[in-house]
C-alpha cells in the first residue's frame, strides 16, 4: 500500500461508557411522584481512550474476552453507539454485519427481506434490485425467491443471510462473530469468501474470539481487555497473548473459588470443598506444602505455550529424617487419562538423605509438547522402595493449560517435518 494513503479507519482517543441505573426508575409514575430524586447509576467504562488506525486493504482482527469492549468498539465504528469522547474517522463506504440475518422477517419472501435490508443499509432501489440477483445467485436460492422465510430450512436461511452480508460493494466491512453459526461446510464457505474479500482489497475489521480465523486471515490484530488496548501487532503474537490472558484469568477464578471456599466455611458448607478431591496422606513425616508451574525464566505461570520449556515444582517439608524418598509427579488430562508420570522411582542413585525441618523444592522440567488443553498435576512423596508406600500425596492439586496455535485431534503436538518426495520415474510423453 502506498505510504501516504489515507487510513480507512482512524479511531482517535475514543471512550465510551454506559450508565447502569442502580434502582431503575422505569415508570412515569415514579418520575412524577419523585420529580427531584436524582436517579443514581453506576458508570461502566466499556472503552477507555482507544486509538488505532487501520490502513486500506488491511484485514484487521479485534480480539478480547467477553465483556472486554470489543463489540462496543465495533458498534461505535458502525455508528450504532455514539462515543463519549474522541472521534472516529471512516474513509470509504462502510458496511456492518453484527449478526447474520438481522431484521429478517419470517413472514416475508426472500425478495422483500433483501429489499428491506437494503433500505436499512441505505441503498437505493436500483442498487437493491441489482444486488438481489447476485445475492440469490450466491445463496443458490433461485427457485425459492417467492417463498416466505418461515418455510426456509435453517441451512437456506443461513445461506441467504450470509450472502446478504457478503454481496455489498463496501470498501470497509465490519464483521462480528458471524463465524459462530453454521456447520463445517458453511464455515468453509465463509473462509473462502473472506479470502476473496481479502484479495479484492477491501478493508475488513473482524471482531471475534475465534483465534484460528484471526491467525488465518488477519494482517494485524488488536487485543483489548477491560476497554483498553493491550496490544496491537502480529496476529500470531496477539493470539498467544490472548490465550494466556484467557487461561490465566480462568485459573485465577478457579483459585479464588478454591480459597474462597476454604476461607468461609460458615457460609459455604462442605459441598464446595468436596469436588476438589484432595486426598491428603499426611502426618507421616513429610508434607508437600506448595506446588506450581514455571517457565524457563522461573516465572510462575498457568499457561504454557506448546513446545516451550516448562517446569513443575513442589515444595516439600520434612518433619523427620528421611533416606532416599521417592518424589513423583503425575499429569492427567480433563478426561482423567494419565498423560505423564515422572519421578525418581527408577533412579538407582537415590535422592539422598533429608534432615527433619529441611525444606526442598523438587522440579521436573520438560518441553510441553502436548496438544492444547488443561492438565492436572498430582504430586506425591513415597518411602524408598517401590514407591507404593506413600507418605504424602496431593491429587489433582493444581492445573495448568497448554496453549497451541495449531488445532490437532491428537494428544501431542510434536514438532515434525512433512515433505513430499517426487518419484524419479516420469511418464514419457
Amino acid at each position: 500500500m502506498p505510504k501516504q494513503s489515507v487510513p480507512a479507519i482512524v479511531v482517535d482517543g475514543v471512550s465510551k461508557s454506559f450508565r447502569i441505573p442502580r434502582e431503575r426508575v422505569h415508570t412515569l409514575k415514579e418520575t412524577a411522584l419523585h420529580p427531584f430524586r436524582r436517579s443514581t447509576y453506576d458508570t461502566m467504562h466499556a472503552l477507555h481512550d482507544v486509538s488505532v488506525a487501520v490502513q486500506p486493504g488491511e484485514f484487521f482482527g479485534v480480539v478480547g474476552r467477553n465483556g472486554s469492549g470489543k463489540s462496543t468498539l465495533l458498534k461505535c465504528l458502525a455508528g450504532i453507539y455514539g462515543v463519549d469522547a474522541g472521534s472516529i474517522y471512516v474513509h470509504g463506504q462502510m458496511s456492518t454485519f453484527i449478526e447474520l440475518g438481522v431484521g429478517f422477517n419470517p413472514d416475508l419472501a426472500a425478495y422483500d427481506n433483501v429489499q428491506l435490508n437494503a433500505a436499512m443499509l441505505g441503498l437505493t432501489k436500483t442498487e437493491a434490485r441489482k444486488r438481489f440477483d447476485r445475492i440469490i445467485e450466491f445463496a443458490e436460492l433461485q427457485d425459492f425467491t417467492q417463498l416466505k422465510l418461515k418455510n426456509y430450512s435453517s441451512g437456506m436461511l443461513v445461506r441467504l443471510a450470509f450472502s446478504v452480508m457478503i454481496q455489498v460493494d463496501a470498501e470497509i466491512l465490519l464483521i462480528d462473530e458471524v463465524l459462530a453459526v453454521g456447520d463445517a461446510a458453511f464455515q468453509q464457505k465463509c473462509f473462502d469468501e473472506f479470502a476473496r474479500i481479502r484479495e479484492s482489497g477491501a478493508t475488513v475489521i473482524l471482531v471475534t474470539h475465534d483465534m484460528a480465523s484471526v491467525r488465518r486471515f488477519c494482517d494485524r490484530a488488536m487485543l483489548i481487555e477491560k476497554g483498553r488496548i493491550v496490544m496491537i501487532g502480529d496476529p500470531e503474537d496477539v493470539g498467544q497473548h490472548y490465550l494466556e490472558l484467557n487461561f490465566s484469568a480462568e485459573a485465577r477464578a478457579a483459585a479464588a473459588q478454591l480459597t474462597g471456599a476454604v476461607g468461609e466455611p460458615a457460609t459455604e458448607p462442605a459441598e464446595e470443598v468436596a469436588p476438589v478431591e484432595t486426598a491428603v496422606h499426611g502426618d507421616r513425616g513429610v508434607e508437600i506444602v506448595e506446588e506450581w508451574v514455571q517457565d524457563e525464566y522461573e516465572r510462575r505461570t498457568a499457561a504454557v505455550p506448546n513446545g516451550e520449556p516448562c517446569t513443575i515444582c513442589m515444595r516439600v517439608v520434612f518433619n523427620e529424617r528421611m533416606q532416599d524418598p521417592i518424589f513423583a509427579f503425575s499429569l492427567t488430562d480433563d478426561h482423567d487419562r494419565i498423560f505423564m508420570d515422572a519421578g525418581n522411582v527408577n533412579d538407582a542413585r537415590g535422592s539422598g538423605a533429608f534432615e527433619a525441618g529441611e525444606s526442598v523444592v523438587v522440579r521436573i522440567s520438560f518441553n510441553a509438547h502436548m496438544a492444547a488443553g488443561r492438565f492436572h498435576v498430582t504430586t506425591s512423596v513415597a518411602r524408598r522402595g517401590t514407591g507404593l508406600d506413600v507418605l504424602d500425596r496431593r491429587d489433582r492439586i493444581m492445573s495448568f493449560v497448554v496453549t497451541a496455535a495449531q488445532e490437532t485431534s491428537g494428544m501431542v503436538l510434536l514438532p515434525y517435518e512433512l515433505d513430499v518426495q517426487r518419484s524419479e520415474q516420469r511418464a514419457i510423453l
Binding site: 482512524v10 422505569h26 412515569l28 418520575t31 474517522y89 456492518t96 413472514d107 422483500d112
Partner: protein, 287 residues
C-alpha cells in the same frame, strides 16, 4: 502507526453516532417508505380476507354504537348521523392504531436498533404511515355510505387532504413522543390506553357538536375543539358529509380560535421532534 493525528485533516469529518434523521434525507424517506409498505402488506396479505378484516374493526364498532346511540338521538339536528358516526370512528381508529402501535415500535424493532445504524425516526414515522394507508382504505366505505344515504359530491371534499394532513401531523407528533418515552418509561403504554379511552368520549365521535351545544354549553364545545382531534373530526363532517354539521370555526365561535388547535398540533410535533432528536443517539443502549 496506530497513533493518528497528523493525517486527520485528510479524513474529513468524524462519523456521527446514530441520530433521528441521519445525514441523507433520501435514505430516511426510502427507509420509512419500505418499512411502512412492508408492514402494511404483511397485515394485508397475512390472510385471505385481508381487506375485510381491516374494515372489520371500525365497522363492528360502528354497528354497536349505531345500534345504541341512534335510538338516543345523540345526533342532534343534523343529517346523516350514521355516516357522521362512521367518520368519527374511522378517524379515531387511525389515531388509536397509529399511536398505540408506535408506543412499542422502537422496542419491537430492538434487534434492528441495536445492530444497524439507520435514522431512528424512521421507525415511528413508518408506523404512522402504515396506519395512514389503513385510514385511506377505511375512508372508502365512508364515502360509499354517504352516497348511498343520499349525500352528493361537493367542492368542500377537496378539504379532505388538508384535514388528513393536519391529523397526520398531530398523530405523528404524538406517536413520536410516545415511542421515545416508552424507551425509558414502560408505563407509557397503559397510561396511553387510558388517555385514548378518554379521548374517545371527549371527542365528537358518537355524538355531534349540535348535541353538545344543545345539552351542555358553548364552553364545553369550545374546549372540545381545542383538542386538534376534535376540531378535525368536526371540520371533516362539515366538509365531507353535510353543511348541517357546523364547521370547526363556527363551533369555536370564530375562525381565529382555530389557531389554538393548530398551535397545539405544532407544539406537540416540535416537542416530540426535540425529545426524539436528543434521545436518538442513546436508543440502542437505553432499550
Amino acid at each position: 502507526m496506530s497513533a493518528p493525528g497528523a493525517k486527520l485533516e485528510l479524513l474529513g469529518p468524524p462519523i456521527q453516532g446514530p441520530s433521528a434523521l441521519g445525514s441523507d434525507p433520501r435514505r430516511f424517506l426510502r427507509l420509512t417508505w419500505v418499512l411502512a409498505t412492508t408492514d402494511f402488506r404483511l397485515r394485508f396479505f397475512g390472510s385471505a380476507l385481508g381487506y375485510l378484516w381491516q374494515l372489520m374493526r371500525p365497522l363492528m364498532l360502528f354497528g354497536v354504537l349505531y345500534a345504541v346511540f341512534s335510538q338516543l338521538g345523540l345526533g342532534g339536528e343534523v343529517k346523516y348521523y350514521a355516516v357522521a358516526l362512521l367518520t368519527g370512528i374511522v378517524l379515531f381508529t387511525f389515531l388509536s392504531e397509529a399511536t398505540s402501535e408506535s408506543v412499542r415500535s422502537l422496542a419491537n424493532r430492538e434487534n434492528l436498533v441495536r445492530k444497524i445504524e439507520f435514522p431512528r425516526l424512521a421507525v415511528p414515522v413508518a408506523t404512522v404511515l402504515t396506519a395512514l394507508f389503513s385510514l385511506v382504505l377505511n375512508l372508502l366505505p365512508v364515502f360509499l355510505f354517504l352516497l348511498v344515504a343520499g349525500g352528493r359530491p361537493r367542492w368542500t371534499w377537496l378539504e379532505l387532504p388538508f384535514l388528513i394532513g393536519a391529523l397526520g401531523l398531530f398523530v405523528l407528533g404524538t406517536a413520536t413522543l410516545l415511542s421515545i418515552l416508552y424507551v425509558r418509561y414502560r408505563d407509557v403504554e397503559p397510561i396511553w390506553d387510558v388517555v385514548l379511552q378518554a379521548t374517545f368520549y371527549a371527542s365528537p365521535i358518537f355524538y355531534t357538536a349540535a348535541y353538545v351545544r344543545e345539552k351542555a354549553n358553548e364552553t364545553v364545545l369550545w374546549l372540545m375543539m381545542c383538542n386538534p382531534f376534535g376540531a378535525i373530526i368536526q371540520e371533516t363532517r362539515h366538509a365531507i358529509i353535510d353543511p348541517s354539521h357546523e364547521s370547526a370555526a363556527s363551533a369555536m365561535g370564530g375562525a381565529q380560535w382555530l389557531l389554538i388547535p393548530a398551535f397545539v398540533t405544532v407544539v406537540i410535533a416540535a416537542i416530540a421532534f426535540q425529545v426524539f432528536n436528543r434521545a436518538a443517539p442513546r436508543i440502542a443502549e437505553d432499550l
